[in-house]
Every structure is written in structure tokens, then in C-alpha cells.
Symmetry: C2
């Protein structure tokens, strides 16, 4: 053995360890749909909650009996989830949740993400290659081959998918809305537009925070219908006007909607291509009262608190590609600033880290 061999050895050991780790990571990706669906089944069959609530490890036969399934099925699920680090234990000693399993079961954000993936996205994601090839949300055919975008069909989603869609949406927006209203406290407008206001969730919070304010919700006719039927808005409907619009139709404009002191757009521009977003902001500018502001709130891919949040945002961007409209995504900060610039708007305030992952911009027309 010569000195060169000696010197090479620690490198080789590191190389080997890195290679085995990569090999394991790759296997976890290659089999990830098995792991994911084993976790979905264990959750839907009540096993995750049962394991989480147990003081002692639970045997698979007990899980099977309580869920009304075969011991074979319960055992298989536990073994996959054990190999994947979601549960720990053995057939003999019984199983418990690991910390990872606890996050999936008890962390509200992780649970909202998990259900959104399982109930809204899983089947459609099989069409990812086609969606990227065609620029169309090819995954929507998992729900209905006639749908062109998801937005007018939220009301038509199967019950479980609809529930998970709104739970996901609301989880992220509720906290961000609360904090945004604190940031905007000194700007209480006489009248504001809620563009992409959907079923009126932000409008409700805003009208409660600003008792003198009137709102106009600007959205697709289908969304306006859901908003008018929304029991949460009882007692507020007289302060809400509706302005139905399809921004993707030729010549869409806010003519006839009146003026607003504040135009609010939360997670709205990310539903459009760059050119469409610039066009929408230009239309919004025309409807601003003197000294009015446009307020845009978005989760920004490069302004997240940590790598986990960045992964979550990158992954869920694919929802837009495959199921929503085929060509939008969450923004990087520079992309959004460029859109503001192209629309002739200047940023007068920005507030990162509202709620879980949002950044809020206050904009006014450039002079």
C-alpha cells in the first residue's frame, strides 16, 4: 500500500456514505406514492388518531379490529409506515407514532397540506407531463374532462376534495388576513375592492375590522353566487356589492364598479400569467380613488422562513400547472416586483412573514 492509498481512504468512506444515503433517498422517492397512500389509508381508517391517542404501543391486530379491516391490511400498513419513519415498533410489541407521524396527525398545517395533496391533487398529478407539455391543467380530467380551469368548478368538486381545498386555502389565509388587517389598521378605507374575493372570507374580516367600510367583491359569477349564499356573511351582505368578472375574457374591465380607496388582491395575481397580471393591475389602477392604494399579498418562493416552507411552496406551485390553470405559480419576489414596475406601480411599504408564508405590498401609481 502506498501513501496515496492511505490518503484516499477517508474520502472513499465519505463517498460511500454519501452514495448509500443517496441510494436510500432515491428509493424513498421511487416508492413515495406507496408510502403516501399507506399514510392516507391509515389516516382515513382512524389508525393514525388511534396510535396518537394511545399511551402504550398498539398491536396491528387491535388496529385491524377497531377499523373493521383484515389483520393482513393493518399489518401491511404498519410495516410500510414503520419503514418510512411514520410509526415505530414491531408486529410483536405494537406500534406508536413517531414525531413525523405526530406532525402528520396533529400539526394543523401539515394535515391541511397532506389532505390537499391526497384529496385534490393526487390523481390529477398523474398528468403532470402532459400539463407541462401542453400548458393546460391536464390533471383536471381526474374530476371532469370538460373543465378548462378549476376556478369556476370549486363548487362542483367532490365533497372530500372541496373540503380539503378550502381547508388548505383557509389555513394559510386566515392567519395572513388577520395580520394584514393589523398592518392596514391606519388605512381603513371608505370603500375597498376585494379582487378575487371568492366566498368573502377576507371581506368578512375586513368589514368587521372596519365598521364604516363598504366592500365590492370582484370575482367570477360562480364565486359571487357562492359568496351571496355564504352564511358567514349574514348581517354583512348590505355592505357588500358584487362585481362579476372573468379576467380571461376579451376586454375585461372594472368600468361600472365605481372607485375604491383600497384595492385588495390576496393570492390572486399568482393565478395568471405575467402579461395577464400586468393587465389586471393596469385595470385596477384606473379604479383607484385619489390617494388610493393597491394592496397585494402573496407567498413568495424566495421569502420563506426555512427550507421546509420553500419545499412546500415549490411543490404546491405544481397545483397551478396541473389542476388550476396550467400556466401560473407562486412568485419569486423579483418576478412580482417586475410586474408592479410594468404596471406603473411603486411599492410604498412591504411586510414579509405575515401569517405562515405571505408578504404584503402596498402600492400606488407612479407619478
Amino acid at each position: 500500500m502506498n501513501p496515496k492509498d492511505n490518503k484516499a481512504r477517508p474520502d472513499r468512506a465519505r463517498h460511500k456514505a454519501a452514495l448509500l444515503k443517496a441510494y436510500d433517498d432515491a428509493a424513498r422517492i421511487a416508492f413515495s406514492p406507496f408510502i403516501f397512500q399507506a399514510a392516507v389509508a391509515a389516516k382515513k381508517l382512524g389508525m393514525m388518531a388511534r396510535l396518537g391517542a394511545a399511551a402504550e404501543p398498539v398491536r396491528y391486530e387491535v388496529l385491524a379490529e377497531e377499523a373493521g379491516v383484515s389483520p393482513y391490511g393493518a399489518r401491511l400498513l404498519m410495516q410500510i409506515l414503520s419503514a418510512a419513519g411514520v410509526v415505530e415498533g414491531s408486529d410483536e410489541a405494537g406500534y406508536l407514532l413517531t414525531k413525523t407521524g405526530e406532525c402528520l396527525t396533529y400539526d394543523a398545517m401539515t394535515a391541511a397540506n397532506f389532505d390537499f395533496t391526497a384529496d385534490v391533487n393526487y390523481k390529477g398529478l398523474a398528468e403532470t407531463t402532459e400539463a407541462i407539455r401542453t400548458g393546460k391543467p391536464a390533471g383536471l380530467k381526474a374530476f371532469d374532462p370538460a373543465w378548462e380551469t378549476i376556478y369556476p368548478h370549486l363548487k362542483d368538486l367532490p365533497a372530500e376534495a372541496q373540503k380539503s381545498w378550502f381547508a388548505f386555502d383557509h389555513f394559510y389565509s386566515d392567519g395572513a388576513f388577520r395580520e394584514a388587517l393589523r398592518v392596514l389598521a391606519a388605512r381603513a378605507p371608505a370603500r375597498f375592492f376585494d379582487i378575487g374575493g371568492n366566498t368573502g372570507r377576507f371581506t368578512k374580516m375586513a368589514l368587521e375590522a372596519w365598521p364604516e367600510t363598504e366592500a365590492t367583491i370582484v370575482d367570477l359569477p360562480e364565486q359571487i353566487g357562492l359568496m351571496r349564499a355564504n352564511p358567514d356573511l349574514e348581517g354583512l351582505q348590505h355592505r357588500i356589492r358584487a362585481f362579476p368578472i372573468d379576467w380571461l375574457s376579451e376586454g375585461a374591465s372594472l368600468d361600472g364598479a365605481g372607485e375604491a380607496d383600497l384595492i385588495w388582491m390576496s393570492q390572486f395575481l399568482d393565478c395568471f400569467s405575467r402579461a395577464e397580471a400586468v393587465g389586471i393591475l393596469n385595470e385596477a389602477k384606473k379604479a383607484l380613488a385619489e390617494n388610493g392604494v393597491i394592496v397585494v399579498m402573496e407567498p413568495l418562493c424566495d421569502r420563506q422562513r426555512n427550507d421546509t416552507a420553500a419545499l412546500s411552496l415549490a411543490a404546491s406551485s405544481l397545483y397551478f400547472t396541473v389542476l388550476a390553470n396550467g400556466n401560473s405559480r407562486f412568485f419569486f419576489e423579483a418576478d412580482l416586483l417586475e410586474i408592479f414596475e410594468a404596471a406603473g406601480l411603486e411599492v410604498i411599504e412591504s411586510h414579509p412573514n405575515l401569517g405562515v408564508c405571505h408578504t404584503l405590498f402596498v402600492l400606488r401609481p407612479k407619478v
Copy 2:
């Protein structure tokens, strides 16, 4: 601050690190179908191969142009795969494969697993909960709602799924068959049965290794048809008899198949429930010539080389639940030994670690 606080601090730091790790692991599971399908799309669009072959990092615009897709789509895929550790780099500097990405692209086993998951299992796995509830392979409806098990329909699978099914099957069996024939070198039989012989892949290797031997392939009529049409068996067909059988039909037996010195069953018993497996072995015993042996080769969940292999086996067991027959799986060693015992067979040899993951048992009837 009292001493108790001081003492608690390192524990708290460890707890925090473990919690953040669990939170990240849970997010990777919750979004895993997005990551998986982003990798599938990057592979099918040729981006993985392109990145793997590149000497320098490749920008997403270049990947997009070469694949004939939008820069938007290529960028989104790279960002998801980057957050997931499959590629590394940035929009500005360009992207390269990580070691994990190299495993997915160049390691033949990982690639076979990945394609099997994507093309055969992904859609059907959405029915995991129903399959576990009903004991039926509910995921088969992703191919055809009329199919009751996958076995007679391998010939009817869509081209891509069929290719990935056989690539997966052959990857594992080829190496194990070669090593099994080495182990059995001294036992060259005058006549052997290949039970569950499928398209004749083992029979071909065995007839080449044993030039004096005759084979009988025992399988479903559909499989026999594929075997007789298999161009690989040209020049060997005169040494092959066929015995069509459906083991799940009432009174299935080997009567009329003659006697065998060696009865071979590779990854066959795992397609059946415990009681069915015992019944099949009992039938096989009756067809043994004097001093004949039954040879069973199976991947055993608890006899794998490492955790990665154990995860792979646990995960792919779910294929049996959701897509194959609804109630079988890869064995644990004790389960299989119990089945041998119940069928009145004794193990005279066992050989672990043949090929990637198989264990071979040589059995004879107990006296």
C-alpha cells in the same frame, strides 16, 4: 434561573432539532406526490438524462427549449426537484443532478422501481383505503373496472405499464435465477415443473443450464399463450410442456401433469393467501417423483441486506393489496416456514441473498 433550567437546556435543543426534522420529514411525505410526479415529468421529458450527461450546469431555459416545453414548466420542475434534493443549482447558475438524481437516472434497480411505481401503481394506489377495507384489488379499476386480479391481464396492460411491469419483474428475477441455477447445479432434474412459470423466463435459463432436462410450465391459460408466443423460447419449445391451471378455481390439481424431480416456484406463493399457499404445496407434493424436491424462492421482508431494501419490499407489498389480488404480500421468514410446516414439508437447504433480495429453500416431504 435555577439549576434545573440549566440542566434542561441541552434536552430542549435536542428536542427542537428533532421536532424540526420531523416537521420537514412530514412535509416531504405530505407533498411527496408532487415531488414524485415532478421527477416523472423531468424523466419523461428527457431532462434527467440531459442533466446527467452535462459537464456543466444547464439552465432551465435550455432544458425547456430542448424538451419543447415552456420555460415556466421547466423552471417549476427544477425548483421542486431542487427543494427535494434531486437536482442542485439555481435558475441563474443552472442545474445538475445530485447523487440522488443520479441514482434515479442511472441505477438500474432504482429506475425499475421508479417506473413500476409511476406506470403500474400510481393511479391505482389512490384506492388503497378501499382495497384494505374490501380485501379486493380496488386499484385495478384504474386500468379496467372489470378486472378481478391483474394476473390474467398482464397482456392487456397499456404498453407503458406492461413494459414497466416486466422490467421490474425481470430486474429482480434475472439475477436471482442465475444464482439459483448455480445453487441447484448438482440437482439437474430429468423433468421439472415451473409453477407460475409465466412467459418462461426461468424455464429458458434452466433448459439452457440443464441440456438434458424437460420442463412443464404450469400457469394460467393466458400466461401459457404468452409463453408459447415468446420469441425467446424459440428452439426450446419442443422441451416444454404446458399445463394450464387456475389455482383459485375449485378442485385445481396437477392430476395429468405427470411427475417431476424438481418443482420450482419463484415469487409464486406470495400471490396467494396462507390457506391457498398450503393447498398448492400439498398438490405439488403429490406430483413429486421419488426423492424429488420442491424449490421455493421468495424475497423475505426480514431477510434483506439493509433498511433501503426492507423499505422497498414493504412498499411494493402494497402492489399486491391494491393492484394484484387484494390479499397477498411478500413473506416474513416465519410465515413462510409455517406454511411449509402446514404442508408437511421440511427444509433441507436454505440460501439467503440470491440476486438482490431472494432466499431459496429446498424442501422435501416429511416422512
